[in-house]
């Protein structure tokens, strides 16, 4: 009988459970058992009834992992950078992981609030953050430890000050929007009475009262809520290129000042309502845009976890955890199993298996010995090393590539850039037109001429034009996000429509990078069946950290095998007193022709080889459908891989690709891509490792897969959020949809402006109608862009 762990939902271990009153709750591991006991002890069992998703299993048996997670919270100088001092106590914001539903927030808040010294705890599910206010220095470590015991990951956030700034900016804009909205409604209410002529011929006192109230309401709306427009206009003027904000600011100041002048000089009309409405609709568009941008930005932030914050440094008085940023060239560092190198270094002592998939694309970890170099970003899968740093963290290869990528990412999409060039001209033209209108109507009296000029300024407000491109693009970004594609560079999404070809990487991109036993052969007859030998191999490899070991998860481990032990290369264990061993096959492959470049392992009983195994990774199931769909777009499909000819040509044939090249270095991939781009036109690169990064950076459109290394993700303009390639197939259609949306929006904005300006110049549009028309036009553009955000691919 199998039962599920009451904490995390994994299959439970047979003899492990927690006794709670009359209930026996099954558990899968001591970590989950501990977490359940802790939840019960704290009286928080309610959590299990309220949660909508299972929890993550804590790994309490791994003392190293625990030490690494908790160490940062014991170093006051490191925490000081993240803390702020408030009247209630010190305030610290931490990043959480493993939160699955609102019940987690409740559990965290309840279980940490009674730790001595904690003033308050607040969690934010959408930002995955915990805000802790405390008075005693030992509190952060205690809170982190309790969270760790409950199975949540806790770490210091990447850029605390940037995040705080972002939050303040969001709050301020929301406040402005709310004020403008309420103010606009109030101002319109009072103006309606004036427009309807309720006080014509009546008592002038009421007329004055209503105007005064309009002034009282419109003033904060214009000068507080509308402040960003004045700021923007001033910035544009100082930079010598007047932007969209200048006519807006001018219209606002004219509408407000003109109304005031009309009141003082006994003019007929006031425009406080138009000004307030104008501010509100403009802020609404701005707020919608900001939200969309931040949503994409937040997803970026979560994926930006590259290098460890802390490392153990050896000093005269022993080992200390220090901030990775403070490591200097020449420092001696100790790294344990599972840790990631924070800096480039040379091994001084110890042997270990180092996975540098992030850097080299090589999926198999390499054995490393004293004298070898290791690079930041590589992870130590097995062993313990003493290394000497060769450069500070900021100068590591990884950090330099990251910088390069960050620069490439700050680009502006070409269409937006063109628009920015046109904007100042447009602004100047609008103001000229307003001046001409004033001149045309001047004979009819300055008040009327002023009103018509104001209408021109308001009605031609170029917002619809300014919003047409960015809103359509950001609609496209959220549609892409829903289809599992995160767009880091909007320009690349638009560039998809012009592509002529696509270049794929092999391992981890077209193939899953997950190994499988494709063939096995018994070598000498020891009276074992194939199934028995495979289950012995599975038992040996069960706890091995090597990616090849995952190939054996498909088999049931033999229960008779005891004390399996991870070796330098392979593993060994005892079964009925006999030593079994599995490791790389040192002999020539007898079936090379049939198995191509498959990786081989040999299983020994004592000294006798028993089973030879061939392991290989498989093409992703959807790879053929995706390459076919991209082929239907008229793109040439190619494969470039660092692997040998056999495996590469076979995959290319299976997926019916147009061309392939084997044994490619990162530089060669880039050169080939540049060649193709020069010969055929823009190319797309799809890859997953750092070895693809040069080609990714050189390509017109670059895509990183979901399990790509952090750096490949940084190098790519787009990346897939879910494992697999499926979203790629819908990318061309989405890009076309975004382009069509942009064209529609631009066409509408132009048509509107060309109709509205002559009408306003002729004096046929009163200011309130101008504000309405302008807002309606912006709203139409916004709604059309949000239609793009709801786009669905035909296949899904």
């Amino acid at each position: 009988m199998t039962s599920a762990c009451a904490h995390c939902g994994e299959p439970a271990a047979p003899a492990l459970y927690i006794q709670q009153g009359s209930h026996r709750l099954p558990a899968c591991c001591p970590g989950c058992a501990g977490a359940m006991a802790l939840v019960h002890e704290l009286g928080l069992d309610h959590y299990y009834r309220l949660r909508t998703d299972t929890a993550r299993s804590p790994r309490v048996d791994d003392a190293e992992e625990k030490e690494r997670q908790l160490a940062p919270f014991r170093i006051p100088e490191l925490l000081a950078e993240y803390e702020s001092v408030t009247p209630e106590g010190r305030r610290l914001t931490l990043s959480l992981s493993g939160l699955t539903c609102a019940a987690c927030c409740w559990l965290i808040e309840k279980s940490t609030a009674d730790i001595p010294g904690v003033e308050s705890v607040g969690t934010d599910l959408s930002a995955m953050e915990l805000t802790l206010v405390y008075r005693r220095p030992e509190v952060p470590a205690a809170v982190a430890e309790r969270l760790y015991q409950l199975g949540y990951g806790v770490s210091l956030p990447g850029d605390p000050r940037g995040r705080e700034r972002l939050r303040r900016e969001q709050r301020r804009l929301l406040g402005r929007l709310a004020l403008a909205g309420i103010g606009a409604m109030q101002a319109m209410m009072y103006s309606a009475a004036l427009y309807l002529g309720a006080f014509d011929g009546g008592d002038q006192v009421y007329l004055w009262l209503f105007r005064l109230v309009g002034l009282l309401i419109a003033t904060p709306v214009v000068f507080y809520a509308g402040w960003p427009f004045f700021q923007g206009a001033w910035r544009g003027l100082r930079a010598g290129s007047p932007g969209m904000d200048l006519p807006v600011a001018l219209a606002l100041i004219l509408a407000w000042g003109g109304s005031l002048a009309n009141m003082a000089l006994g003019g007929e009309h006031v425009y406080f309502d138009s000004a307030a409405m104008f501010v509100f609709f403009l802020l609404l568009s701005r707020w919608l845009e900001q939200r969309q941008r931040h949503r994409v930005g937040a997803a970026w932030q979560q994926l930006k976890d590259a290098l460890p914050l802390l490392v153990r440094r050896l000093a005269d008085d022993g080992e200390h955890w220090v901030s990775s940023r403070r490591v200097q060239a020449g420092d001696m560092l100790r790294l344990g199993q599972g840790e990631v190198f924070p800096v480039d270094a040379v091994i001084v002592e110890g042997h270990g298996q180092v996975a540098e998939a992030a850097l080299t694309g090589e999926p198999l970890p390499c054995p490393r010995a004293p004298g070898d170099t290791v690079q930041a970003g590589g992870s130590l899968l097995q062993g313990s090393l003493l290394v000497r740093a060769t450069a500070p963290a900021a100068d590591s290869l990884v950090a330099r590539i990251a910088d390069q990528v960050a620069r490439a990412r700050s680009e502006v999409p070409p269409m937006l850039r063109d628009w920015r060039r046109v904007a100042p001209l447009f602004t100047v033209a609008v103001m000229l037109l307003a001046a001409i209108t004033f001149g045309l109507h001047a004979p009819a009296g300055p008040a009327l001429a002023f009103e018509h000029a104001l209408s021109v300024l308001v009605v031609t407000c170029p917002c619809a034009l300014a919003l047409a491109v960015p809103l359509s693009v950001s609609g496209g970004l959220s549609a892409a996000l829903r289809h599992g594609i995160l767009v880091a560079s909007p320009g690349q999404l638009l560039a998809v429509t012009g592509l002529r070809g696509v270049l794929f990487d092999k391992t981890g991109t077209l193939t899953s990078g997950r190994f499988r036993v494709i063939r096995h052969k018994r070598l000498s007859d020891g009276g074992y069946s194939d199934a028995e030998l495979l289950s012995i191999a599975a038992a040996l490899e069960r706890h091995h950290p090597h990616p090849l070991a995952r190939a054996f998860q498909a088999y049931t481990p033999d229960p008779a095998l005891q004390g399996s032990e991870v070796l330098h290369q392979g593993a060994r264990g005892r079964r009925h007193g006999v030593l079994w061993r599995i490791g790389p096959d040192p002999f020539e492959d007898p079936e090379r022709a049939a198995t191509r470049d498959a990786t081989r392992l040999l299983l020994h009983e004592g000294d006798r080889p028993r089973l030879r195994l061939w392991l290989s990774d498989e093409p992703r199931p959807e790879a053929l459908a995706v390459t076919r769909a991209l082929g239907a777009e008229g793109w040439r499909r190619r494969l470039a891989s660092g692997d040998g000819e056999g495996a590469v040509s076979e995959l290319a044939a299976t997926l019916r690709l147009d061309d392939w090249r084997a044994r490619q270095t990162p530089e060669q991939k880039k050169t080939w891509l540049e060649c193709l781009a020069a010969r055929e036109g823009p190319q797309m690169m799809v890859g997953d490792g750092i070895n693809d990064a040069p080609a990714l950076l050189a390509a017109s459109v670059s895509v990183a897969t979901a399990d790509a290394s952090t750096l490949a993700r940084k190098a790519a303009g787009l990346y897939l959020l879910k494992p697999g390639l499926a979203p790629l197939a819908s990318l061309p259609a989405l890009a076309r949809r975004v382009r069509r949306g942009i064209r529609q929006n631009l066409a509408w904005a132009l048509a509107y402006n060309l109709t509205a300006i002559p009408l306003a110049m002729a004096g046929l549009v009163p200011p309130w109608a101008a504000a309405l028309g302008m807002s309606a036009s912006s709203l139409l553009v916004t709604v059309n862009a949000s239609r793009i955000a709801r786009w669905q691919s035909l296949s899904s």
Partner: protein
């Protein structure tokens, strides 16, 4: 009609109060996590057991 002279300033006072409350809520971060806070009411407060 004269009552308007009294009612309109009164309406303005209410408007001011509403805006003050709104800004108070925004600055306390009440509009930031709309998902988790909505669940709070479902969770029992252990202290009252």
């Amino acid at each position: 009609m004269a009552i308007i002279i009294l009612l309109i300033p009164l309406a303005l006072v209410f408007l001011g109060l509403a805006l003050w409350a709104l800004f108070w809520a925004i600055n306390r971060g009440q509009f930031e996590d709309l998902e988790h806070q909505a669940w709070r009411v479902v969770f029992e407060d252990r202290d009252r057991d």
